[in-house]
Amino acid sequence: MLKTLAPGTIRALKVPVFLLCLVPLAIILLETFGLAGMSLGANPVEELIHRCGKWGLKFLLITLAVTPLRGLTGWNWLIRFRRMFGLFAFFYILLHFLVYAGLDQRFDLAVILEDIAERPYITIGMAALVLLVPLAVTSTKGMMRRLGRRWKQLHRLVYPIAILGVWHFYWQVKLDTLEPIIYAAILAALLGYRLVSSRRRRAPGRPTDSRNGHDRTAHARRSL
């Protein structure tokens, strides 16, 4: 059940999934403009920055959850949604940066550069955003074909990006680190899954893979 979906079904599902990914943006916009009785609270710019940043991180984690979910459930069609999740992660993170640069720092380049140079949590956040750009640019089918094996190598950058992103969150929290630690724990689980499953694949003569349906991960070997 659910292991295979017809190509038509997948295509039809993409529309509602896309709209669902836009819901955080819709809420953020209602709040920003004070519509439907919603507001960003007393410190709207900071709230806006935090909202966008956290949604960016959430979408990064969702993107990284695709491979483990596929492995565990055998729902291979999940991979067809991964690019969309990854691009939404880039979208919310870019928005996070633009709100910071525009509303918080008024596009004052000197101040922004000083922040990047002198505030380590901004340095690593900025590094994560810069590293995301080539992944977004090369996310098209044409680019995948053109880059071939190097595409996969390039897109492994998502691991350090996610680590930098969560670290950036952890580092800017004043004292109560519970929330970023939850993000870090989820990220650790998602990366840990990859370590374990790649080790299993490399250990020859062990029947584990084919026995509990892990052959699907083997099939998706070297995928992210």
């Binding site: 819901v23 955080p24 809420i27 209602l30 709040e31 920003t32 439907a36 009785g37 919603m38 507001s39 960003l40 609270g41 007393a42 410190n43 709207p44 710019v45 900071e46 709230e47 806006l48 909202r51 509303l103 918080d104 008024r106 922040d115 505030r119 380590p120 949590y121 580092w171 800017q172 004043k174 004292l175 109560d176 519970l178």
Partner: protein
């Protein structure tokens, strides 16, 4: 206390707007659902009016800024009071049933009149003053708040500190049953703050019992809190149950939690950055999303009154 019938300038606008907005929020059914969808971060707060807080009889005090005060809503829903949670709206949500009557303050240390004093003994003898102060948080946001209180120095003198009293240490109530934030060791509880005796005796330093002419809401540190307007907000310890005169510099909560980031003095200083963020500018709460930040002033604009307290002190080292 007799009710105060004078109409203050800020009453005409902010509080009524506050009530109207509340009504609006309550009526917007969509809001609650949308807030839920936002992942429980819901910025739509349950309605709670200021009506059940008594009016205080006050006189106009000195040192007030003529800047426009923040709204009642901003002042009472955007708070750092970790005893009730680390989210800005947690104190508003979690402090509503906090019991502040009866309230006792233990006074001790280097003074001739130690003892346990009821709230009435602490606040009763003093004339309450309206003082509109700038409030600068170490997180680089600021407000303008119409406090009600009396000079801390007038209170401390009644306890007759002796010549060994170089500092004053304050403690917040420790009561995890009532203060859910204390069930997690985010800070070392109870919260401790301190001032030099000169800072404590300075006429700007206020023991606060109210805001906007009314009793202090629980989330703002009822029933007794400090306000030291030239220092970062965290020096303004809330719900005080202990005052001790000491010969040694007290170990204050934030300085213990992160000594590299928070010092004993914590004077507002645009030239000394927090290790992780700039203190040069601040965002005024209540300003538009599209408003620019404003420059932070030395000693939060109170340099004329307090700079001489720190003559010869290296403010970079003693941050």
């Amino acid at each position: 206390m007799k009710p105060d019938n004078r109409i203050r300038s800020w009453e005409i606008t902010s509080e009524r707007n506050y009530m109207n907005r509340r009504q609006f929020v309550r009526d917007a059914g969509l809001a609650a659902g949308a807030a839920f969808a936002a992942g429980g971060a819901g910025l739509v707060l349950p309605s709670r009016a200021s009506a059940n807080l008594a009016d205080l009889e006050t006189v106009q005090g000195p040192y007030s800024t003529d800047e426009t005060p923040n709204t009642w809503e901003d002042i009472t829903t955007y708070n750092n009071f970790y005893e009730f949670g680390t989210g800005k709206e947690d104190p508003y949500r979690n402090a509503q049933d906090f019991v502040t009557e009866p309230w006792t303050v233990k006074v001790g240390g280097e003074c001739d009149k130690p003892g346990k004093y009821a709230y009435e003994d602490i606040a009763g003898p003093h004339t309450l003053e309206d003082r509109v102060y700038r409030h600068r948080c170490v997180e680089a946001w600021s407000m303008v708040v119409p406090w009600v209180g009396f000079p801390l120095g007038d209170l401390l003198k009644r306890f007759e500190p002796n010549s060994k009293a170089k500092y004053v240490r304050f403690k917040t109530l420790y009561d995890p049953d009532q203060m859910p934030g204390q069930r997690r060791a985010v800070l070392r509880w109870p919260y401790v703050e301190g001032l030099t005796i000169a800072e404590a005796m300075h006429p700007l330093t206020l023991m606060v019992v109210g805001v906007y002419g009314k009793e202090l809401p629980n989330q703002n540190g009822a029933p007794l809190r400090l306000v030291i307007p030239w220092k970062y907000g965290f020096k303004g310890i809330k719900s005080i149950v202990e005052i001790e005169f000491t010969s040694r510099q007290p170990k204050t909560s934030w300085a213990v939690a992160a000594p590299r980031e928070y010092g004993f003095y914590a004077n507002v200083n645009p030239e000394v950055d927090h290790p992780r963020w700039s203190q040069a500018r601040e965002r005024r709460i209540g300003a538009s999303v599209f408003a620019a930040k404003q420059p932070t002033l030395m000693f939060n604009g109170y340099a004329e009154q307090v700079a001489s307290l720190y003559d010869g002190l290296d403010l970079r080292k003693n941050f």
